[in-house]
Point group: C2
Chain length 191, copies 2
């Protein structure tokens, strides 16, 4: 499932705008970049039905019209996440630009937690049945997660007990675990 | 400390753009809103030095030129967070619009973790001295955190042991704890 090409195009331009805002500290230079992006936004807004995007993002998982700040192609807060099932795991490969930085060169720890929550939540909600919600999530930061690094975020159900699903997962870069997550997801009681 | 008025103005318009993208599913309606915002962006980009903002955001804490996705006035991913010290705690009051939603009506669990990581990290880094980094963060989701609700995020050091600072905090809405965080922040060994 894909989002509207106009929304996806607008969202991509908005991510460029965000990147310009955090990477360009000179107002004059920033204004030049903002002007160029604004002109592209205006151009698309004049003919939304004619806009096309190359390589449109395909939504994965059970969220039918994904607008979440973690994974949506049309929410510029999110890096669009393609979460795929791979041997009993949910897995997403992605790279995060400068707007996700906390300490210099490193992805913000809260963003690392957001990635883990979302991918573990995807793994908790595989299959039909009720929706499972995060009850707790414990994140352990083993090593820095580099900005612009090729990251893999993986998650899996490790135990199930009635309405409870226990999950584990990792953020990996260059073959090294950078962060581990473990948590409990619970389905509401049936009414 | 404030950011440049042009950057802050551009960032505010970008947040409007993000909100439009996640709340307006009709392409024609969305195009109308995008066109209006794009024209404002272009207008500001033509005269960046003349742009002013009402009620500019003041950066708190030790991050001198905050561009983080958690708190920065110039990073549109962030809700600009004003973290203040209050009786030995770090405290931030804020409200999150639709672009931070996970399940319907609720703030995404990963965003809740981001808020807690950032405010607890602020509390861990009060005072001079080395910078403390998150070693682990455990988040417990006690109740839904409502979108558009008046939230308070608080955090405090509860124990200190050499290079280690143990933190606790909560996300509160309507007098009820919605999420609890507890974690360990560590300063690197001196070289």
């Amino acid at each position: 499932m894909t989002t509207s090409p106009f929304a996806e195009h607008t969202s991509r331009l908005t991510r460029e705008l965000i990147h310009s805002l955090v990477s360009e500290t000179d107002d004059g230079q920033l204004a030049g970049r903002v002007g160029v992006i604004a002109a592209k936004l205006e151009d698309a807004a004049r003919r939304p039905q004619e806009v096309t995007v190359t390589d449109p993002h395909v939504t994965s998982g059970r969220i039918r019209d994904d607008v979440t700040p973690a994974s949506s192609a049309r929410n510029p807060i999110a890096p669009p996440m393609l979460i795929e099932r791979d041997g009993g795991e949910s897995r997403c490969e992605l790279s995060l630009p400068l707007q996700y930085q906390g300490p210099p060169g490193r992805v913000h720890g809260g963003i690392v937690a957001l990635l883990l929550d979302h991918v573990l939540g995807n793994a908790a909600n595989v299959g039909d049945g009720p929706r499972y919600f995060t009850r707790y999530l414990n994140v352990s930061y083993e090593a820095p997660t580099p900005i612009a690094g090729a990251l893999a975020v993986v998650g899996r159900v490790v135990r199930e007990d009635g309405r409870k699903r226990f999950l584990e997962g990792e953020v990996v870069c260059d073959g090294q675990v950078r962060a581990r997550g473990e948590g409990l997801w619970v389905a509401p009681r049936s009414t």
